[in-house]
Homo-oligomer: 142 residues x 2
DNA sequence: TTTGAATACTTGTATATACAAGTGTTTGTG
DNA sequence: CACAAACACTTGTATATACAAGTATTCAAA
């Protein structure tokens, strides 16, 4: 219940973080059936769709730092959702059977998440907002 | 350099988080002259503007969990930017001279941050985006 | 008036994320 | 060829944030 007349509402840094936090909460709830936090789910989808993908590519796709991807992949490897294979200086990431088996459920959760915020924000509005927000994120990239 | 054709760009959870991360990076840079991370700066502005404010109110204003506010205030008290006074079950937060002295600089940094993303996103666009993003964050609040 | 519920905050613990520095590999240039 | 620069990843460390459970205070109802 933040005050609408708050000065914060005029700051994109603040607003974007607030929105991200709210959505993260929703996403965590919706991804609960997978037993994974949303970022892990997204990463698995990525690897399932592109077996052999490299951490750097994943980092670019997800707009995360390379070190963050290392950490995520590490955990998912521990839990046998994927494997890493070194090839020279490069690493290739492959999904395991466990990961492939989970893929439909992840996608289901993803759709449920979409349905959830589309319901709260309006279908058209949420679609437009997603585009605008994504475009802005791209423009701010270093 | 995320692929524009990425599936991610259609997910608001993902896009909002990406935007928030980029803006946090900008904000950290712009707030560097204050010696504070952006959240601390915003909190101080809040307390400077509302001496005696309670943590709960701050949490509402900033859309943060109460425990997060406790943590932020704790640090700022250690560094003598503010003081806490208990009154029954309530706590009141007051700025110190140090905090009041810093206030203009914080506001300057805030303006610089605004100028920075307005330049990158376009003035009108960033203004509109801020409104839309804030409105969405409000709608998603529990 | 006692007691149970609500309120306001704190504490323990966990997570996602990043930066900077480190390691190992490849590539290009003198 | 040798060696420096560039690349791809990992590791150490730090931060913001949250949830759940805990403490202390106030309020309401029997």
């Amino acid at each position: 219940m933040p005050s609408d007349q708050s000065t914060y509402c005029r700051c994109l840094y603040y607003s974007a973080n607030a929105l991200a936090r709210q959505l993260s909460k929703l996403a965590e709830e919706e991804f609960a059936p997978t037993g994974l936090a949303p970022s892990y789910g997204f990463l698995l989808m990525n690897v399932n769709a592109h077996p052999g993908i490299q951490p750097t590519e994943v980092a670019h796709h997800m707009m995360l730092a390379a070190s963050t991807v290392t950490r995520l992949v590490e955990k998912l490897e521990e839990e046998v959702y994927l494997t890493r294979e070194r090839e020279g200086k490069a690493i290739h990431i492959y999904p395991t059977a466990k990961s492939k088996r989970l893929d439909p459920k992840i996608k289901e959760c993803w759709r449920a998440l979409y349905a959830r915020y589309a319901e709260l924000l309006g279908k058209e509005e949420s679609h437009k907002l997603t585009q605008d927000v994504f475009a802005a994120a791209l423009k701010l990239e270093p």
